[in-house]
């Protein structure tokens, strides 16, 4: 076991994948000489050469579009999109090509791309640097979407994503890049939890709190705070956003009868909508109250001095918990 930050864990996952398979190559802006603006790819160009760690010209559609061509040729490109807000120029290639090519070719051409996206807010950045675009990709059939919340998952799930023959959007919670955790670098991948599996990260009995990526630590804090007040929250880390793994959520909601979903992305058609709908369909008779969503508002991401008023924090999560419990101290009183 090694103690690694999230960035180091991702770096290690890339390194391991490149060692294991010469067809794995990295592409992106500033990922080579600089090692990435977040240093995620630090040292990899030096060790693997500029033919496997490719600094590309500044054009996102081309990064993804040429990765498609490389995949045609049998490569497994891992593309970095520098920040969440810069993925949109590549949207067409992702939605109309990457997501559809396997079906279009009757399964004869595979698109084992991994698209790494540092995402989410909380780091005081300017416009376009704090977005949560995952919903767009979850709505896109043909893609897999995952989001990691800790170094061990980052290491393992990145390796799984790269090994997966389907295209995977890999969302990295940039405000957790410096979070440290134990990582087993030699763990047997075949015995790791499946890439598509969600996970209960804190057991509880009163309320099920579902989240992913950057808000997992916040949700755990909320669970601890609630415990002080005698409320027992079960926290579930989705890990896989597409496909959603309803198993643990269903099991939990059948016990708690109460569901809160929280994410940074805007509410309307954010992941919360799907989970509330999906759980209502699956667990209707077990629900004791309407599920609650605690999310970013339906606004463009605000200037950084205001981001704390957009992003769900511990207090807003607890407010959501109060609401789902019908407790009168819910301040927003939906």
């Amino acid at each position: 076991m090694s103690k690694l930050t999230l960035t180091q864990a991702i770096n290690a996952g890339l390194r391991k994948s490149m060692e294991e398979d010469p067809k794995v190559i990295l592409m992106g802006e500033d990922i080579g000489t600089l090692g990435g603006v977040f240093r995620v790819t630090d040292g990899l160009m030096k060790d693997f050469g500029s033919h496997r760690v490719i600094d590309t010209p500044l054009a996102e559609s081309a990064i993804i579009g040429t990765a498609v061509g490389l995949a045609y040729r049998g490569f497994r490109p891992v593309c970095e999109i520098q920040f969440d807000g810069f993925i949109y120029p590549a949207f067409d290639q992702i939605v109309s090509q990457v997501a559809k090519l396997h079906m279009r070719t009757h399964g004869q051409v595979r698109m084992p791309l991994t698209i790494r996206v540092p995402f989410g807010g909380g780091i005081g950045s300017p416009e376009h640097h704090s977005e949560s675009p995952e919903g767009y990709f979850v709505h896109t059939s043909g893609l897999r979407v995952i989001s990691v919340s800790n170094p061990q998952d980052a290491y393992t799930m990145l390796r799984q994503a790269i090994k997966c023959d389907d295209p995977v959007l890999f969302f990295e919670p940039k405000r957790r890049y410096h979070t440290k955790g134990e990582v087993d670098l030699d763990a047997d991948l075949s015995r790791a939890p499946a890439m598509g599996a969600s996970r209960v990260v804190s057991a509880g009995t009163d309320v099920t709190l579902v989240t992913y990526g950057p808000l997992v630590p916040t949700a755990l804090d909320a669970a601890r705070a609630a415990a002080d007040e005698g409320i027992s929250i079960e926290v579930i880390d989705l890990r896989s956003l597409s496909p959603l793994d309803y198993g643990p959520i269903e099991e939990s909601v059948r016990r708690t009868g109460r569901l809160v979903v929280t994410h940074e992305a805007s509410q309307t058609l954010g992941l919360g909508a799907e989970i509330v709908a999906g759980i209502t369909e699956r667990c209707f008779n077990y629900l004791e109250a309407a599920p609650v969503r605690v999310t970013g508002f339906d606004i463009p991401y605000p200037p950084s001095k205001l981001e704390k008023h957009h992003l769900p924090d511990l207090d807003r999560m607890l407010d959501g918990v109060d609401r789902v419990l019908g407790r009168p101290n819910s301040a927003s009183g939906l």
Binding site: I25, H51, R52, T56, P57, A59, S61, A62, I64, G65, T66, A67, V68, G69, L70, A71, Y72, R73, G74, F75, P89, D92, Q93, S96, Q97, H102, M103, R104, T105, H106, G107, Q108, V109, R110, S141, G142, R144, C164, D165, D166, G196, S242, P243, L244, D245, Y246
Partner: protein, 378 residues
């Protein structure tokens, strides 16, 4: 100040390479002639036969569309020389990224006629295995395939192979950002990719002059990529130009750009009505430059096309047409449950559940009007 260039609409502009004149005479071109020195009479006859065959594909498919056997068809009438000349310059290892209009290319590359038609019938998204014949599926998103070809060629560099890739694109496509980004990446990585642009003068109803105020091939040098304008109705010139580009690419010379100046004699697709936007004069003018007629004239002037030869060419075209028709009208419909296939390579909890539900629905269900559901569950 760098100079502006001339109007791209001008048809008989200097700088367009040609090896056969519209009336069928051989022309010498210093740059291109060396690339077709080995093309003997038999080879020219072969090119002629190819062109006749794909024109026949075009007319047969157009007819089948009118008869309701195909949902849509994009004619290639007038562009046979561009398709045949470029394809015949490639080796089978070279990978092709075509648009929807390169159905002649697909046939010559080895796709089955029924396979080609399956897409236009609406039965399948692909009619061949791209890896089996090194041919991607027809791209509908304008310009997108040029990035794929560039990436493929980048892969060839990484592997140290001397194969090449080729992206077909139209004149309209040159306005898309993806095409520009392809040129940037191709130049940056010196990728062995050929951008083969068929300037057929129209993008649906929009004339090429709307897309470009200067000859399209003139954009290439700005990227450090050599550009070549060639008479796209001259199969030998197209063959030579593509060979030039292939030779450059194979020997590490990197990307190149070919503008084949040709003309879309037909409608954009069978759903289009070109009389709404273009006059007959233009059509007549280009009719006089027919790509097949000029090779035929060349062959005849050299006494190479006797009755037997012509009969063989016709026989091949007839056989192609028959096979195409037969393959189309006997094509079975895809199985309903196949909508769920190949979305992912592995299990997918959400989609698998939808598949299961729909399977149960189809199995247990008789529509209100009592009809039976077509196709079998698979």
């Amino acid at each position: 100040m760098l100079d502006e260039q001339a109007d791209p609409g001008a048809l008989n502009q200097t700088g367009i390479h040609q090896l056969i004149s519209p009336d069928g005479h051989a022309v010498v071109d210093e740059e291109l002639s060396p690339f077709v020195e080995d093309v003997d009479d038999a080879a020219i006859l072969g090119l002629y036969s190819d062109m006749v065959a794909i024109r026949r594909i075009d007319s047969e498919a157009t007819a089948l569309q009118r008869q309701g056997q195909l949902a849509l068809w994009p004619p290639m009438l007038g562009q046979e020389a561009s398709q045949v000349g470029s394809l015949r310059a490639l080796a089978v290892e070279d990978f092709i990224f075509p648009t929807y209009r390169e159905n002649g290319v697909a046939y010559l590359r080895g796709a089955s006629l029924a396979g080609i038609m399956s897409t236009w019938r609406g039965s399948a998204n692909t009619g061949w295995d791209p890896h089996a014949i090194n041919l991607a599926t027809p791209q509908i998103i304008i310009g997108a395939q040029t990035l794929h070809a560039t990436g493929y060629a980048m892969g060839l560099v990484l592997e140290g192979k001397d194969d090449v890739s080729i992206a077909y694109l139209g004149d309209g496509a040159t306005s898309q950002g993806d095409v520009h980004e392809s040129m940037v990446f191709a130049a940056s990585f010196q990728a062995p990719v050929i951008f083969f642009c068929q300037n057929n003068h129209w993008a649906i109803s929009e004339p090429v002059g709307l897309q470009a105020h200067a000859p399209i091939a003139g954009r290439a040098p700005g990227y450090g990529i050599p550009g070549m304008r060639v008479d796209g109705n001259d199969v030998l010139a197209v063959l030579a130009a593509t060979r030039w580009a292939v030779a450059r690419a194979r020997s590490g010379g990197g990307p190149s750009f070919i503008e084949a100046v040709t003309y879309r004699m037909g409608a954009h697709t069978t759903a289009d009505d070109p009389t709404r936007y273009r006059g007959v004069t233009e059509l007549e003018e280009w009719g006089a430059k027919d790509p097949i007629a000029r090779v035929k004239a060349l062959l005849q002037s050299r006494g190479l096309l006797d009755a037997d030869g012509e009969a063989a060419v016709t026989a091949r075209a007839n056989a192609v047409a028959a096979e195409l028709r037969e393959g189309t009208i006997t094509m079975g419909d895809p199985a309903p449950m196949s909508v769920f296939e190949n979305v992912y390579t592995e299990e997918h909890a959400i989609l698998d559940r939808q598949r299961e539900h729909y399977g149960r629905y189809l199995a247990g269900f008789t529509p209100a009007d009592g009809t039976k559901l077509e196709g079998s569950l698979s």
